[in-house]
Symmetry: C2
Subunit: 102 residues, 2 copies
């Protein structure tokens, strides 16, 4: 069994040269929001959920990206509502959010 049931990595990489990067879409703020909301829901613990930042995961053109392991499900998102849907559907109920999947 996985140490975390769902281990979530937000790419928060910033490219300074103008090429596409997740941080240009507010990735750090979205990660912070997800981390706080998971904590508020009592999900932040071994056996449950961990929300992490990560460096560039090399899917920049499809970003901003987040990946959920061990499932290996990749998502993109636009706003907090998308993050809420990933939390409510995937992290709480184990259902992949197909409309955000990449």
């Amino acid at each position: 069994m996985s140490y975390y049931k769902h281990h979530v990595f937000f790419c928060t990489n910033l490219r300074e040269d103008g090429r596409p990067c997740c941080q240009r879409f507010g990735a750090q703020a979205m990660r912070d929001y997800a981390k706080k909301r998971c904590k508020d829901l009592g999900l932040a613990a071994p056996g449950k959920v961990r929300i992490n930042t990560a460096g560039c995961m090399d899917r920049c053109a499809e970003g901003p990206v987040v990946v959920v392991y061990p499932e290996g499900t990749w998502y993109t998102y636009v706003d907090q509502e998308d993050i809420d849907e990933i939390i409510d559907e995937h992290l709480l109920n184990g259902r992949v959010v197909e409309r955000l999947r990449i």
Copy 2:
């Protein structure tokens, strides 16, 4: 099938208050070493291996830590020889390195 066959996250978090943290053990340098070695081996590509940095993964007392997904295998390491063993055994041959597992 997972976008990366092995997606590896090195915690490179630095705590400034003296508590244990992975960065105190040279985590960033080890991640850089692993990334370069995987690139040199031709492993750095979709369907193969991705080496990433990550923020604190909250296993600080067991650190420095690295996790390999989608397997969910957690390792600690001391030096480049340990990193080489994880690359040669796990990433190249799919064999868990039990002596480094946490």
